[in-house]
Symmetry: C2
C-alpha cells in the first residue's frame, strides 16, 4: 500500500465523486438513485463509491434491496496541512518547547515581536531560515523583502541571522549556513 493521504486526496479529486459527496451531504442515497441523478451507469457510481469507502469518506449499510451510502462526517474535518505535511521528527522535549515558542511568537503567519531571549530568538530565526534556499546567493534587498513579510523591523532580523551564524554575509551577498556540513 502506498500513502494513505494520497489515496484519500485522489478519492476527493474527481468531479464525479465531488458530485456524489455533495448529494450525500444533503441526503443519504443508494447506487441506482445516484446513477439516475448523475446520468451515469450504476457500475460507474459503484466504482466511485467503493473508492471513497476504501479511504473512509463514506460508509454503506444495507436496507432491504438497497445499500445506503452515507458521508462519514468526521473524515471531512481535517486540514490539508495535517494531511499533506509530514512532521518527520518525533516530538521530543526539545521539539515540544520549540513548538510552544513558535506558537507564541507567530500569529497569522507574522511575527508578533522579536524574542529578546537568545534561545527563543534562535528558534524563531531558524524557522525564518526555511524561507531561504541553501546554496543560493541572496542580495541584501532580497533578504530584507522576505524578512519584511514577518516583521517590520526586518533590519534587526537580518542582522541577527548573521549574528546567530545562520547566514553568512560576503560583499552584500547573503547565504544560508549549512549546519550539517560533514567537514
Amino acid at each position: 500500500m502506498k500513502n494513505a493521504a494520497i489515496e484519500l486526496l485522489k478519492a476527493l479529486s474527481d468531479g464525479t465523486r465531488l458530485d456524489i459527496i455533495n448529494i450525500l451531504a444533503k441526503q443519504d442515497s443508494y447506487v441506482e438513485q445516484l446513477a439516475a441523478t448523475l446520468s451515469l451507469a450504476p457500475a460507474t457510481v459503484c466504482y466511485h463509491l467503493k473508492k471513497m469507502e476504501q479511504v473512509g469518506l463514506v460508509t454503506s449499510a444495507r436496507s432491504q434491496f438497497y445499500i445506503i451510502y452515507s458521508l462519514n462526517q468526521k473524515a471531512f474535518d481535517r486540514t490539508l496541512r495535517e494531511l499533506v505535511i509530514c512532521p518527520a521528527r518525533v516530538p521530543d522535549a526539545d521539539e515540544k518547547y520549540r513548538r510552544e515558542v513558535l506558537e507564541h511568537f507567530f500569529r497569522y503567519g507574522k511575527l508578533t515581536t522579536i524574542p529578546v531571549q537568545r534561545k527563543k530568538r534562535e528558534i524563531v530565526l531558524q524557522k525564518l531560515l526555511e524561507r531561504f534556499a541553501v546554496g543560493i546567493d541572496y542580495t541584501e534587498r532580497e533578504v530584507s523583502e522576505i524578512l519584511a513579510e514577518y516583521h517590520e523591523d526586518y533590519c534587526t532580523l537580518r542582522r541577527e541571522m548573521i549574528a546567530c551564524g545562520l547566514m553568512t554575509r560576503d560583499h552584500e551577498i547573503y547565504r544560508v549556513v549549512q549546519k550539517d556540513d560533514k567537514t
Copy 2:
C-alpha cells in the same frame, strides 16, 4: 475553467508533488535542486511546480540564476469540508438562525439535548433526516440504530420524526416524506 477545488485537490493528490511539498516545507528550493533530490528530470519537476503554482499552493521568485519556490502556507489551513462541500443555498436570515440552532445542539457530531421548542426541534430533526434516503423503506430497528448515533433517547427522536410529519410509518415501515412533491 472547471472547479477550483478539484484543481487544487488534483494538485495535491500525487506522490511526487507531495514529496516536493514536504521538501519545501523544510526549506525553500529551486528546480534543479529538487530534481537532483528526487532523481527526476528538471522538466518533470517544473511540470509539477507549475501545476501547484496555478492553484496557489506554491509561489516563485527569481534570485539570480535560480527561481526559488516557496510553500504558500495559507493555502494549507483549509479543511476538506470547506473545500469540498458546497453550501448551495445563500445564507439568508432563516439559514443563519438554522445554523445557530444546529451549532448549539450538536457537539462532536452528537446531539447534546433534544430541543424542547418546536421550531428548534424541527430544525434538528430535519438535519437528522439527511441520514435517511428518500424512497427507501426502513424498519423500526434501522431507524432506531441511525438515530441512536446522535442521542440515547432515540425513541423520542423516532416518535418526533412522525409527529413532525418528516417520516411516515406504515406497518413498522418508516419512510422519508418528500416535501417537494409537486402534487
